[in-house]
């Protein structure tokens, strides 16, 4: 038999042991739930959440070069919001629709990761 590098092979002859083993969870594939173990990769997967149009997120990690807007300012669709330098390219982030700047979470020179909420928007009154 080949040597196994898995943590351990559980004693599968004893079902009560499986049912009491915290590594084994109830896992729904369709309508049926199976007793099984999860992989490290599965456990660390990113859980989906609906993106909000009012949150400007970084799609690439990089350095903030310019933030030509201020909190409270109303910015028109298409106007420049930010410049991020990433992979030696200057990426210009434009306003997706006309709205008010609610909060700015970055400053010039800061290094930001991917998927960071850089600027939060709110609707204008009119």
């Amino acid at each position: 038999m080949s040597k196994s590098r898995k943590v351990n092979i559980t004693d599968l002859n004893n079902m009560s042991k499986i049912n009491n083993n915290p590594d084994f969870v109830d896992f729904a594939v369709t309508a049926r739930k199976y007793k099984t173990q999860l992989t490290k990769k599965y456990k660390s997967r990113k859980v989906w959440s609906n993106p909000s149009p009012y949150e400007i997120q970084s799609y690439i990690p990089g350095t903030i070069i310019q933030v030509p807007v201020e909190e409270g300012q109303i910015v028109k669709e298409g106007e420049l919001l930010l410049i991020i330098e990433a992979m030696k390219m200057m990426n210009r982030i434009q306003m997706p629709f006309t709205a008010k700047i609610k909060k700015i979470n970055v400053t010039v020179g800061s290094k930001i990761p991917k998927d960071m909420i850089m600027i939060e928007l709110e609707g204008t009154e009119d």
């Binding site: 898995k6 896992f27 999860l38 990433a86």
Partner: protein, 514 residues
């Protein structure tokens, strides 16, 4: 007396080159817990079988002070030898010689031994331990890598190619291993990445250690780039020897057969699968119960463990096993499992190894991450690989075969030569609970007691459809068999398909969903 003098001079010259980068560099290598390139080759090959080629090759770089540097063998040892008596080609980068860096002549030594392997139909084993491109040689180093990649591709499917990562292997260097059939890694020693931690930190501001970025465990468990994972170099070399003994040494040969042996696994094959369909078991126990001597060499054991792949023997002949593993993620198919199985199936097909598929398959893994990662494209690789394969293809349905998974796991419809099912097999479009909910939605909704009605309908569905006999009545299953008969029937199936000849339309090559 001149001859004697010349012989002594030759011996002296060889002794110097055999010292690689010299005592100090060797000490450093040992301090890192690593064997030297020469030690590795000698430990891998049968005693006294190594014949070195191109020992006296020297680089021709004339810039950046390189003109004064003499590099032993230009940092790589190449040659041939035997493993259990079978000839192989081997090369090992010597980290003690300028960090094992790859210059043009270093690369040309490698491509020469690769050409030799391809021509003479021998497996080629490359031991990687190199700081990367020799920057002083500039484009010459890049040319060298490219020439290696080209040969990796030419040799793919003709001779087995094995990459052993026993040190750093970064940047362009990673692509030769990635093009080869089997990659071996060792804990704390192997490091593989395209861009290292320094670049990642400078460009992206993300801090990560070499080990967490591209250490052995990462490639064995997360990326799937590695096929075999060992704790020590010697264990790794033993794994290579075991693999080499199991696979054919070219696409025109069969693997050297072993003496037929009965399984030694003590557990009764009827007792492995729990009666409750929701309970897991280790499908490798079924393989142990079927294979000669109960021996099974598992590949990519830690990555996508929801599918099990590897080699065993049946009556002395090598076979490939593909099996769903209910122990992990209930044995679903997902992106990684499909990639893993598809590549293995193509290896088996290229090298004349019959494939035995053991199926217990609840379906595909649901999830946004899976859909967005392209489970459609990845899943299609498996359909492609099974459909394309012309080696004998045998399936045993152990328990469940639902929906798309039923088709994907080497069904009759993809060209299986033999389809067997155990009597408890459920072959259906989906699990009974799901199916009853859809088919009898109206009855269930209109019933006074919805749950009772649902239970009744689920039971009806189980009795009518969750069995192997519907599929058998249509000829999609050749035989419903008792678990204890399985090995005999597999041996029979392998015996009668010995001369299998399968037609495929003429083409340059297919276009699989890579």
């Amino acid at each position: 007396m001149t001859l004697k003098k010349n012989i002594l001079a030759l011996r002296q010259k060889k002794a110097i080159i055999e010292k690689g980068g010299g005592d100090k560099a060797i000490e450093k290598q040992m301090a890192m817990g690593k064997m030297t390139a020469r030690e590795r080759i000698l430990a891998l090959l049968d005693a006294d079988s190594f014949h070195e080629y191109d020992m006296f090759v020297e680089h021709e770089e004339r810039n950046f002070g390189m003109e004064d540097k003499v590099l032993a063998g230009d940092g790589v040892i190449t040659g041939t030898g035997t493993i259990s008596g079978a000839s192989v080609c081997v090369y090992a980068q010597d980290f003690t010689v300028m960090g094992g860096s790859l210059g043009l002549k270093h690369a040309r030594k490698i491509t020469k031994i690769m050409d030799h392997a391809l021509k003479m139909k021998m497996p080629c084993i490359g031991i990687n331990d190199s700081g990367g491109a020799r920057i002083q040689e500039g484009i010459g180093a890049l040319a060298g890598y490219g020439e290696i990649f080209w040969r990796n591709t030419m040799a793919s499917g003709v001779i087995p190619q094995i990459s052993v990562i026993l040190g750093p292997c970064a940047g362009g260097a990673v692509y030769s291993p990635a093009l080869t059939d089997f990659v071996f890694v060792v804990e704390n020693i192997s490091k593989m990445f395209i861009t290292g931690p320094n670049v990642i930190e400078t460009v992206l501001g993300e801090k990560i250690s070499q080990e967490d970025l591209g250490g052995a465990r990462v490639h064995a468990e997360i990326t799937g780039n590695a096929h075999f994972y060992a704790l020590t170099e010697l264990e790794c070399l033993d794994q290579i020897k075991e693999l080499i003994s199991l696979i054919p040494h070219s696409n025109q040969q069969k693997a050297i057969p072993a003496k037929p042996a009965k399984p030694t696994f003590k557990k009764n094959i009827e007792k492995i699968i729990p009666s409750d369909p929701k309970q897991p078991y280790d499908v490798r126990e079924i393989i142990f119960a079927l294979a000669d001597d109960s021996k099974f060499l598992e590949i990519q054991e830690l990555w996508a463990p929801n599918i099990v792949i590897g080699f065993g023997r049946m009556k002395g002949e090598t076979v490939g096993f593909v099996a769903n593993q209910p122990l992990y993620l209930a044995g679903v198919l997902d992106c990684d499992a499909s990639d893993k199985a598809a590549r293995f199936i193509r290896f088996c097909d290229a090298f004349n190894i019959p494939i035995i598929t053991l199926e217990d398959m609840p379906g595909y893994l649901p999830g946004v991450d899976q859909e967005h990662a392209g489970v459609i494209r990845h899943g299609a690789k498996m359909l492609y690989a099974y459909s394309e394969a012309t080696v004998p293809k045998i399936t045993v349905i152990l328990r469940k075969a639902y929906g798309g998974g039923y088709i994907a796991m080497n069904s009759r419809h993809l060209g299986a030569d033999f389809m067997f099912a155990w009597p408890g097999a459920e072959i259906a479009v989906m699990g009974p609970e799901g199916a009853a909910n859809i088919i009898f939605r109206k009855e269930i909704m209109e019933a006074e007691n919805e749950d009772a009605m649902r239970q009744q309908k689920v039971q009806e569905y189980i009795e009518k459809f969750a069995n192997p006999f519907v599929a058998a009545s249509k000829g999609y299953i050749d035989a419903v068999i008792e678990p204890l008969e399985t090995r005999e029937l597999l041996l029979h199936a392998l015996e009668v398909s010995k001369n299998k000849d399968d037609y495929r339309p003429a083409k340059k090559h297919g276009v699989p969903p890579f």
